[in-house]
């Protein structure tokens, strides 16, 4: 910041920049004041903070899995697939019936280590199919259209999928059955961590590592990276563009389907045709937070968003004396998005569409 007031400083001065700078200070001040108030009042014990953070990580890992789908598609096609939330819903909503059947026959509780992966694979296949169909029917014909057109198509596809699934399965709520081995908690230090949260977090982490290995260490991953760097030149190098794009959608869809079942283990109720809408937007926020197009960024953004949502209302808003702080949980999530877009538009880890750009 220049302290010398000369003509050049005055010429370069912009009210917008000034206001944004003030806003930056105000927001940071509010966050600090709120946190300080809450922590000093000692209303929550440190054990409660730890358990909130852990539940935030579990929720965040689900956001991360869905966010990976957004980020992969953006990296390759430079397009936000707004129907990805519905891809998540399709896997979750279809697998719930299989899960209920498993539960009725007793298979789920007698062989959970076999039943749960079967459910995950099933949901992944359903979501993969929906994603591939989406690409083929809704996005491929618009490959060369102006950027806005596929975006609107994605929103339309999202509504279409919601109501199609409502037509298939009805509008009443379903619930995943509770799995016995996931009940209860085990102590970590002085905190009782629910087993379901640990399982969710580990499963998501495993899937994320698998994806990272796929993209970085395999030939098809190299092809994906090449296509995201430069489509035309990759075609010249002998990469089949269409096949790679379909593969990207398939991978994103599979992860979303897996996320659907994993979410069902963790939060079993509330499965219905509309369940993909809010996680879809939150996962998109997470992908932008971490840096759109950036795979580790999506993972980090998801976890970060989950933790912020879990501790934000109690830490900041309650400390500022705002009533009904937990009702404003979504406000925190989306304010975070706006702040990131203002102050660091490339996201936490930076937008990475290609390794090197000349």
């Amino acid at each position: 910041m220049r302290l010398v007031l000369n003509q050049r400083t005055l010429d370069e001065f912009s009210w917008v920049d000034f206001t944004i700078g003030v806003l930056r200070v105000v927001i940071i001040a509010l966050i600090l004041i709120g946190s300080f108030n809450t922590l000093s009042s000692g209303r929550f014990t440190s054990d409660q903070w730890v358990s909130l953070v852990i539940s935030g990580l579990a929720q965040g890992s689900i956001y991360a899995l869905i966010a990976l789908g957004y980020t992969l598609v953006y990296g390759i096609l430079l397009m936000i697939n707004f129907a990805h939330g519905e891809v998540f819903m399709s896997g979750a909503f279809t697998a719930v019936f299989l899960a209920q059947a498993f539960d009725r026959s007793g298979f789920l509780n007698s062989a959970p280590l076999l039943a749960i992966p079967v459910l995950i694979v099933f949901a992944a296949l359903v979501s993969m199919t929906v994603a591939i169909l989406l690409e083929r029917i809704a996005y491929r014909p618009l490959r060369n259209a102006p950027r806005l057109v596929p975006l609107i198509t994605a929103i339309g596809a999202s509504f279409f999928l919601q109501y199609t699934f409502r037509g298939f399965y009805g509008s009443s709520f379903q619930a995943y059955p509770t799995v016995d081995i996931l009940r209860g908690s085990f102590p970590v230090g002085s905190v009782n961590v629910p087993i379901s949260q640990v399982v969710v977090f580990s499963a998501a982490l495993l899937l994320m590592f698998c994806l990272y290995w796929l993209v970085e260490r395999t030939k098809i991953g190299k092809a994906m990276r090449a296509v995201s760097e430069n489509k035309e030149v990759s075609a010249l190098m002998g990469v089949d563009i269409d096949r790679i794009i379909v593969f990207t959608f398939a991978i994103g869809g599979a992860l979303a389907g897996a996320a659907g079942v994993i979410n069902g283990l963790y939060r079993p109720q509330g499965v219905n045709f509309f369940m993909g809408f809010v996680p879809g937007i939150k996962a998109f926020t997470a992908a932008v937070l971490g840096g759109i197009g950036n795979i580790p960024g999506a993972m980090l953004g998801g976890l970060f968003l989950g933790v912020i949502e879990a501790i934000g209302p109690n830490l900041v808003l309650a400390g500022l004396g705002i009533p009904g702080a937990n009702q404003l949980k979504d406000v925190i999530a989306f304010t975070m998005l706006v702040l990131v877009l203002i102050f660091r538009p490339q996201g936490i880890l930076g937008e990475r569409l290609a390794e090197k750009k000349a």
Binding site: S51, L52, S172, F173, A175, P177, P268, G270, N272, N314
Partner: protein, 415 residues
């Protein structure tokens, strides 16, 4: 000159036609009249939640209406009764859309609706300014029959309800918690809707009057799935009982996740009629065991006969608790239409809208399934006599419905 001739011709034709009609029946109503030709049906409508998470409420009320119509063989005053359906969802947007669609149809005399208080808040002004009558079978928010805008009342003329006012339901819940269960520390959660917010406010007020302490009042959003933050906050406040008068699936999440939250293992959970449906214990599983729900409770011979009709005509049992209220609402409406209708010689019927409103408002001592109903000037036709506290037990988890009644308010309770 050339243009004036056809206009004059049209005017004369028009005068002749109206003159011909005026010769038969005259409309002296302040708002206006609905004229029903000799072969036309009498049209009533309903705006209920027939889709979405709370569709059980709408289906339940529709069943009550259908049974009432079946008992009249679908006829009134030798005209067929036509039922127009609109979906009010359980939101303000749904209520507004349904009301606009309904108000656009001039032939509708009255509407049974809405299911949810949030839809009613948006639908009320539209239906009222269209001159129609609206009788709700399951709106319970106190603000809907409160005409004092300074205290948050939004009543408009033409609105009535056969469901209990939440001023009663909240009081019943508080009395049960404080007097019966002996609990003294209350925490409440609502979801921002007028129904939930109003009900938890009444519960908290009466609980405090009885001598208890309200340690926490908070809210979540509809569509929230993760309740750990608010449950942790509640655990920090150390309550005996958590009262959450909300709907599925948020209610299911709170019930299920409160088991996971340290500090809340022994807390009593209580909900209200929003969760009083067969899908709630099914979807929540073991976490719902031992939970209490307040809601409408009707008994008697007439009700048993009603249930038999239900099993015959619709099959099974009613999915929620307001079917009898819908039955009474439709009967009150049809009886009022019958009372104020002017019937012409050729079978034309003229119904004055203001006359219809006045007739329903004058309902007094009407013996319905839900008790003896008398409408007060701001639309409340029911008292709190048909309420009870239910408990979810093992048998509900296996599909038995309705759950057993554990407490009913002592009859000495007046308003």
């Amino acid at each position: 000159m050339k243009r004036i001739l056809p206009i004059l011709l049209l005017l004369t034709l028009f005068a002749m036609l109206t003159g011909v009609q005026a010769a038969q029946l005259e409309c002296t109503d302040e708002i206006g009249c609905v004229e029903i030709g000799p072969d036309d049906p009498i049209t009533i409508g309903y705006m209920l939640t027939i889709s979405g998470a709370t569709s059980f409420l709408g289906e339940d009320s529709v069943g009550g209406i259908q049974i009432a119509l079946a008992e009249r063989d679908g006829m009134l005053l030798d005209h067929e009764i036509e039922l127009v359906a609109e979906d009010s969802l359980c939101s303000a947007e749904g209520g507004q859309t349904a009301a606009q669609n309904m108000a656009a149809r001039d032939e509708v005399l009255g509407v049974i609706g809405t299911s949810c208080s949030s839809s009613a808040a948006a639908a009320l002004p539209i239906i009222s300014s269209a001159g129609m009558v609206m009788i709700s079978p399951s709106n319970t928010a106190p603000s809907l029959t409160n005409d004092d805008t300074a205290s948050g009342g939004i009543w408009q003329p033409g609105y009535f309800r056969t469901a209990h006012n939440d001023l009663f339901q909240g009081a019943v819940a508080a009395q049960f918690a404080y007097n019966e269960l002996g609990l003294t520390r209350l925490a409440t959660i609502h979801d921002g809707s007028p129904y939930a917010d109003g009900l938890q406010a009444v519960m908290a007020e009466v609980f405090t009057e009885l001598g208890g302490e309200v340690v926490f009042q908070g809210a979540i959003n509809v569509n929230d799935t993760d309740m750990t933050a608010i449950l942790t906050e509640i655990a920090a406040a150390g309550p005996d009982i958590i009262y959450f008068p909300i709907f599925e699936p948020e209610g299911n999440f709170i019930a299920a996740q409160s088991d996971e939250t340290p500090g809340l293992e022994n807390v009593v959970l209580m909900g209200a009629d929003g969760l009083l449906s067969t899908s709630f214990p099914e979807n929540t599983g073991a976490a719902a065991l031992g939970m209490y729900l307040s809601g409408p409770y009707i008994e008697g011979e007439a009700y048993d006969a009603f249930l038999e009709s239900w099993a015959e005509i619709i099959g099974g049992v009613p999915p929620s608790g307001f079917h009898a209220h819908a039955y009474d609402a439709v009967n009150i409406l049809l009886d009022a239409i019958e009372a104020v209708a002017q019937v012409g010689d050729d079978g034309t019927i003229l119904v004055g809208r203001q006359a219809l409103r006045d007739a329903i408002a004058a309902t007094s001592g009407y013996v319905g399934l839900t008790g003896t109903l008398s409408c007060n000037p701001t639309g409340d036709c029911a008292t709190g006599e048909a309420l009870a506290i239910f408990e979810i037990t093992e048998s509900e988890l296996e599909g038995n419905w309705p759950p057993p009644v554990v407490w009913t308010p002592p009859p000495a309770e007046a308003e």
